[in-house]
């Protein structure tokens, strides 16, 4: 029998043995090291798909770091667009450029020229344009933004693992300084100005460079932090390239996929987790997408998360069931200070009435 490199490869190296038959999600994700270990403090950022992991991590006994959340007295109030789904209230981050600039801003190393939009009595954050409760004055905007960036830095400084989910390569940036917006100005807020807002479709080398720089920046103050890179399987909602959205989406995902692997291979303690492959590979036969062929189904999320956690080193077996009940149980009860305040006010209204 002839010897060649393929002879010694395990079954998982062969499509016929690992995909055509006997496909196992957990095998796809098997890496050199566990993704999470017991006691990890996890931070995540990225596209909306990134927020799916939070309940699973918490149920698995991992700490999902939250350094910025609504004040307990206001915890029952709604928020928009996933701003409460991440470690700090940065919301969905779709491009590597915006992700890098968030860290630069949090570290005080970048201050975008176009850093606020004034509209209808509100001062809107171009990097969080959908916030439900924006500032109403420049002074308040400065205070709220500083608080947000401080909380963001705290999250990235305290994490033992940071999960970055790369969403897309198409982005709109400021012509003045390259500041990357999460959405095209004029869509959620702001006003589109072709002289000021420029379309950019990042290349693989640009994404790689962004992530490498981001990792380097975070490790200045958190040298031992590990990174897990994933690519969101959710296709583009729309493209500005003029191509068919399927073609544009494939380009975006391919670029991100290449960049993620290149960074994982070249930078220590950066791993790639194949969520993209688990959901979009032919073995899934499309069942991991909803009817719109874009959003990932609960089954798809479960397949991804089960695989991720099975390849982690956790304290005990995690329960693979989703746990919405547990989440609602974690909602803060009415704070004691508020209950006491309310009781005093009510009692006084009754007492004063005795004077009339």
């Amino acid at each position: 029998m002839k010897l060649h490199p393929y002879r010694e490869q395990p079954a998982r190296a062969f499509w016929s043995r690992a995909v055509s038959k006997r496909f196992e999600n957990s095998e796809v994700a098997k890496g050199a090291a566990p993704y999470f270990v017991e006691g990890d403090r996890v931070v995540s950022a990225g596209s909306c798909f990134a927020s799916n992991l939070v309940p699973w991590l918490e149920k698995a006994g991992l700490e999902y770091l939250r350094t910025e959340r609504p004040h307990p007295v206001l915890a029952h109030m709604p928020e928009n667009l996933g701003y409460l789904d991440f470690s700090a209230m940065y919301g969905n981050i779709y491009s590597s450029r915006q992700m890098l600039q968030l860290i630069q801003r949090a570290r005080g190393e970048f201050k975008p020229v176009e850093d606020r939009w004034h509209e209808q009595g509100r001062v809107v954050d171009p990097f969080r344009p959908g916030l439900k409760y924006p500032a109403t004055s420049d002074r308040e905007f400065d205070l709220l933004s500083a608080q947000h960036l401080e909380a963001t830095k705290a999250a990235f400084d305290q994490a033992t693992v940071i999960v970055l989910t790369l969403g897309l390569t198409e982005t709109w940036v400021s012509a003045l300084d390259g500041a990357a917006f999460p959405s095209c100005p004029g869509t959620i807020a702001g006003t589109f100005d072709p002289a000021k807002h420029v379309f950019l479709n990042l290349s693989a080398s640009e994404v790689k460079s962004d992530i490498e720089e981001l990792v380097g920046l975070v490790r200045i103050t958190n040298p031992s932090v590990r990174f897990i890179l994933t690519v969101s399987p959710v296709p583009l909602v729309a493209t500005a390239t003029g191509e068919h959205v399927l073609v544009a989406s494939t380009y975006s995902k391919s670029v991100l996929r290449v960049a993620a692997s290149e960074v994982a291979h070249s930078v220590e303690n950066v791993m790639y987790f194949p969520a993209y492959e688990i959901v979009t590979g032919p073995q899934s036969q499309g069942v991991f997408f909803e009817d719109d062929r874009r959003h990932v189904s609960p089954a798809g999320i479960e397949a991804v998360m089960t695989s991720l956690l099975e390849n982690s080193q956790l304290a005990a077996d995690f329960n693979s069931a989703t746990n919405q009940d547990d989440q609602s149980a974690q909602l803060e009860e009415v704070p004691i200070s508020q209950r006491l305040s309310e009781r005093i006010s009510t009692a006084e209204c009754e007492e004063m009435a005795a004077e009339w």
């Binding site: 307990p72 007295v73 409760y133 109403t136 709220l144 508020q338 006491l340 006010s345 005795a354 004077e355």
Partner: protein
């Protein structure tokens, strides 16, 4: 004729022939008490629609306002809408502490705490104004209506002194396993900022309903925006009859301008 409901019994306190009807919540009490400080030769007489037994007062509802409308026809109505929402949620310092920017751009100099946007707080308080707009539209059809601002917060020491000997305060802190001496009143700058937000909402709703708004007078506030001591009723949240006199003077101005 009193209105007996399943919740309480509403009636008119004062002269049935009064020129001005005071309607609304407990802060209207200062206006009512103020009349007693005035001579008989007053510019206008007031009567207040409230629970027959004030200690049995319940939150005001549509039945109450319909009852007010009966008395108010062809008279002037002073609407006092709630006014303790900031105290109800934030009188006692919360954990984490809050920080709210005041209208004048000032805030607490203390470093700790979480900034909360004024727009979030506005949304937080807005449900407590549900029904005010329709009430104003409704009353305005047959009466001349004005909305008055509610009194600003009191200084910390006044509040603490007022509540520290109260049994409900002691019982509550014991129930929740806290030492009463460890309870702090919310920072004055925050309470003033919260109160300002309430006044903004009141003024906005009045403007939309095309009803005049009489803000709480600047002269009643000290250098930090708190209610001056001489205008404090002996509790944590209400103003006294002297404050009521200040408001009566402003109501007089409104009446003169109307005429």
């Amino acid at each position: 004729m009193p209105l007996v409901t399943s919740r309480t019994e509403w009636t008119l306190h004062g002269d049935p022939n009064a020129d001005v009807i005071i309607a609304g919540d407990s802060h209207g009490g200062a206006l009512q008490m103020a009349e007693a400080l005035q001579s008989n030769d007053v510019e206008f007489k007031t009567a207040r629609v409230f629970a027959k037994n004030p200690e049995a007062a319940v939150p005001l509802d549509a039945e109450y306002w319909n009852y007010v409308r009966n008395f108010a026809r062809n008279k002037r109505v002073v609407v006092v809408w709630k006014g303790n929402q900031h105290n109800s949620a934030f009188l006692i310092r919360s954990n984490p502490p809050i920080k709210v920017l005041g209208l004048n751009g000032l805030s607490s100099k203390e470093q700790d705490g979480q900034w909360i946007s004024r727009s979030a707080l506005k949304d937080f308080f807005t449900p407590s104004f549900d029904g005010l707009d329709s009430t104003l539209f409704d009353l305005s059809r047959f009466s001349k209506v004005v909305v008055v601002g509610t009194p600003p917060p009191k200084r910390d020491d006044f509040v603490l002194k007022a509540i520290s000997n109260e049994s409900y305060f002691r019982n509550f802190t014991i129930e929740t396993g806290r030492d009463p001496s460890e309870i702090s009143v919310e920072r004055l700058s925050n309470r003033v900022a919260l109160w300002e937000i309430l006044q903004e909402i009141l003024a906005d709703i009045a403007r939309v309903a095309m009803v005049p708004f009489i803000p709480s007078p600047e002269s009643a506030r000290d250098q930090d925006g708190a209610l001056k001591r001489e205008y404090c009723y002996n509790d944590a949240t209400h103003a006294n009859a002297e404050y009521g006199l200040l408001i009566r003077a402003l109501i007089s101005e409104w009446i003169r301008e109307e005429q």
